[in-house]
Every structure is written in C-alpha cells, then in structure tokens.
Amino acid sequence: MSKHPHELLARSLEEGLGLVEQRELDGHLAECAACRELRRDLHESEERLGALEPATALAPFDLAAASHRHGASAAPLAAAAVGVLALIVVGAAVLSGRATLPPAASPSASTALVSSSPRLLLAHRAVIDVGPGGTPTVVTQAFDAFSILSADRRAASYPISGVAVGTPKFDGQRRIAYWARASASTGEYRLAIWEAATQQERTLLTLGSDGDESPAGDPTWTSDTRAVIVAIKATSGDQVRLLRVNADGSGSAVVSDPAPAVGVVYADDAVIVGIRGGNYVVLDARAGQTIRAKPHQPVASELGANEGGIVWELVRPFESETGPLRIWRSSDPSVTLATVDQRGVETPVFWPGRSEVVFVRGTSIYSIDYDTGASRELLSFPDAPRLVAFDPTGAVLVVRYGTGFAAFERSGDGLRPRTDLQFAASSADLFDPIGVTRD
C-alpha cells in the first residue's frame, strides 16, 4: 500500500474492516510511523471527545429572554443573507444535456441573446492547514483570492491583499465589496472593492488601527450601486453607527450615530430599511432617523433584495410546513406580494429584467411572478440543482448541478441549455460562487 490509508484508519474506528483491508492496513502500519501516530491520535481523540462535560444546573426556561435574543439575532442573520447565498463548489464536471425542459422546448446552442460571454465569479477560501498530498484539512470562511471562470473553460485566480472576512457582496454587475484584514484574526479592518474588469482591489475605508472598532455584518450595496452601507460597532457595547461609503472612493458620510444594531435589507438614496431587534425599521438614508418601525415576527430566514426594493424572504422555521418563500416590498413587509406556500424552496434569486423570483424545489427550477402571483416550472433535472445567479442582463442563468456548473439561456419566457458555455474545474470545497458578470 503506497498511499497513507488515513480514511481506512478512521473508518476502522467506525466499523470492522474486511480481511483484505485489515491486512493491508496492518501491513502499512508495521512500516509507517506517521500512520501509527495518527492511529494513536485517533484513539485519543475518541477519549477527548467522549469526556463528558460536567453536569450543571439547568437555567430556567425564560421564554421572554429567548424571544428577545431570537429577535436580536435576526438582524445580523438578515444582513449576512442579503444577496448571494453561499454555495460550495465541489467539482468540475459540467452538465451536458442532462437537464430536461418543459414540453415543447428543445435544447440548442443559440447565441441570439448572448452577445458577450458570462463569467462566473468565485471566492477562494483560505486554508489553514493541509494534509498529506496537499489536501486541505482545515478550511475557513475567510477568502484569500477571487477567481473568474470564463465560459470557454478558462480560469484565472487573483489573490487579494490579506483575506476577505464575512460574505463578499456582489453588486450584480462587476464589483465585489467586502471587509478585509491582514489575516482573519489580525490586522485593521478595510472596506475594499474588487473590480472584475481590472482584477484590482481598492480600499474605501480603514477602521482605526487601535482595534476599538469592527464591522457589524457585511456591506450592503445601495440600489444604484454607487455606494455601500456599512455598520460599524465599537468593541465595547452593542451599538453601531451606519456609514454610506461611496464606491468610487470619493468619501463617506455618517448616516447614523451609535444606535442599536440594524441588519440592512435594502438601501437607496432615500431610505435604509432593515431589521432592528424585534422591529422592521425604515431609516432616513441621510439623517439616520427612524421614519417608521413596526414589529417584525422574528423567524429564521434569509433575505435578498433587488434594485427595485422587492425583497424575497426564505423562511426556515424548523419543521414548519407553511410559507417558506414570501415576497414583499421593502417599504412594507406586512403586505405579501406573492408567496410559495410549500416546504423545500431553495436558493431563490431575482431574474433581472423580469418580475420573477426563480428558485429550486426538489429537482426542478421554478419561478414565481410577484406581480401576478403565478408560479411555473422552468426546468427539471434528475437530481437537485442549485442556483448560482443570473448574469446582469437576465439572459443567462448559471446553475450548479452535480459537481459542475451549467448555463441556461433565456428563450422567450423560459430557459434552455447552453451546452457550449462550459466553465472550468474548481478545487473541491474551496470556492464559493459570488455572482455572474460579463466580458
């Protein structure tokens, strides 16, 4: 046995090995000191993990406190979820004609709508440690490079200065905004923008080097993408101040002085709307005052908004069978424009240029029109796909399917495969799709 049998070692702790496997393992262990040490460590880790936590007195069930905390946690959750859902790229094979279409549609390689090629933007996760053979063993959510996958299978990676922490936010066109540091645990925080066209990073804002301020959530693009809204908190205390930072580097303005944290859902020239504690709040975008606040039922949800102020809310109450996808206007969350009142809705994305939200349910891709409430099936697959994003024009949708990516082109009101658009391989588990841009 030439390769170190690490998985076999770990599996031997879970179940008895077959005679052949056991013989191979024993033979390797007799020769390999490193694997003998790993076996000892694996056994010792069983003891470490199995050591019982000491029993402690159980806190009384405090429903009021629990509800309060639940509401408070909704804000950063919402802020983190606006825009791109984190997906993990696990492989390279590109879907080739395996999707089926609703009746009467047929796959083709048309270029009628696609005059320039879509390019997939990915963020590369920082790796703490690698094992034998260079296999990453400890991977975090911090990112150390952005990659561009072209539709002709070309791929290029561009390291950034330090690492991006949190979730990088795509403006839907060509730029990514994020907080960066020298490493994910050290260094001052920088608000930076990375341009896909130039592959250059620009720093818009640097927090104090004395470390008394830190970001409170990810940046949020304004609807016109001219600025990003950021929340900054002092190290001590829970209050944050909101800043509007111009994306062209021409400066920033304080929107609000320290106030309770708000998870920003949507922002434009006039208003910033978001979740603050147990309230949905509308703030004056210039002065920061609260224009309107109304109680917001704290639930586990993910939120995304488009430039028109339409919000999708993917509700994820555990075991609930009701209303997992709801669409509303940022101006009034209490009025539902459309809803998919079913379980199992995944990865909703806005379809640019149309009044539709596209999502996965089961092994199919559906859309719901928030103007009419009508829902329809767009594509079906043998296994569950995951949506990545539309390109900025809404002409091409990129889908993760199996271990690769596939592209679909708008055709009338539907989508059809573009098997000629093929994206390159990516290392397993190390890339998060950020969005789709254009040449």
Partner: protein, 174 residues
C-alpha cells in the same frame, strides 16, 4: 419560571406535550451535548432557542420516542448555524491557538476550539457519536440524513479533528 403551557397556547401550536416537563427531562442532556460544541454561554442560548422552536413548530412528534431525536435535530441545526457564524468571523490561526493555550488550561476548551475549526456538520456528528454515544442509526434519525452520510461525516470528522487538535498543540504531541 414562565408558565410554559400558557406560552405554548399563545404560540399557536396545539400539541399534547407538557413542555415544562420535557424541558426538565431533556434539557440537561441537550445542554450538555451542545455545550461540548459551542461552550457554556452559547449552549444556554441554543437550548432556549431550541425549545422556542419546538413549542412553536407547526408539526410536533406525536410519540414520546420521537421527541428526543426531534429535539436533537433542532438543537443540532442551531449548533451548526452557530458554528458557521463563528467560523465566518473567527479565523483559527496559530496566534489564536497560542492564545487558547495561554488563557485556558482546560482540555475541553482546546477540544471545543478544534471542533470549531472543522466542518460544523462533521463536528455535530462527532459529538453525537462520541460524547452522546448515539449509534449511527440514531444520528441519522436525529440529523435527518442517511447512515452512509453519517459514516462519511464521522470518518472525515475524525481525521479533521485530529489535524485541528494537533494544530492547536493540544495533548502530548506539541
């Protein structure tokens, strides 16, 4: 203590469970389990959230033997979310590892830090297996995944945990 049965009614569900009794019987083991993953402060919060979600769930297990795995599933999902959020903002570097050693001699803290450095779904499976002593079938039921998936998470989790633990300099090696 809050009148849980009154709260239950307010929260719209119509179950048959005496949630105060369930909390007293299942709460300690749930709290201890999740404390292994996220530490004492977050464990208390997750336990509270777990019961909030259980009480307000539209569909609750009809039978007593289904209740415990269901609660394990809820609190495991909460723990996975908490670990993911933690990984988003805390980078486990060598510097952090040293600070862990310097500030705490508690083995359990090092174990928790190593757990927080590996994939959350693997960490949860490991603790359910080795700390809670659940079988793979029970873990599969609790997490709503196949036994094969559980085995995969355990195998990968064991290896990744050892690597992370070594990295932190825990135990005899470093």
């Amino acid at each position: 203590m809050t009148d849980l049965n009154a709260e239950r009614t307010r929260l719209r569900s119509a179950p048959t469970w005496d949630w105060a009794a369930v909390y007293e019987s299942e709460g300690p083991s749930l709290e201890r389990y999740v404390r292994r993953l996220v530490g004492p402060a977050d464990a208390r919060d997750l336990l509270q959230e777990c019961f909030i979600r259980a009480i307000s769930a539209e569909r609750q297990p009809p039978r007593r033997e289904e209740l415990r795995p269901w609660l394990y599933r809820i609190i495991s999902n909460l723990a996975i979310d908490a670990l993911r959020r933690r990984q988003r903002w805390r980078f486990l570097s060598l510097d952090h590892a040293r600070s862990v050693q310097a500030t705490s001699s508690m083995e359990s803290e090092i174990v928790r830090t190593a757990l927080s450095a590996i994939a959350p779904d693997q960490a949860v499976a490991l603790v359910l297996r080795l700390h809670e002593r659940l079988s793979r079938a029970e873990i599969a039921q609790a997490l709503g995944i196949s036994e094969a998936a559980v085995k995969g998470r355990l195998v990968r989790g064991r290896l990744n945990f050892v690597e992370a633990y070594r990295r932190l300099g825990g135990g005899r090696r470093r």
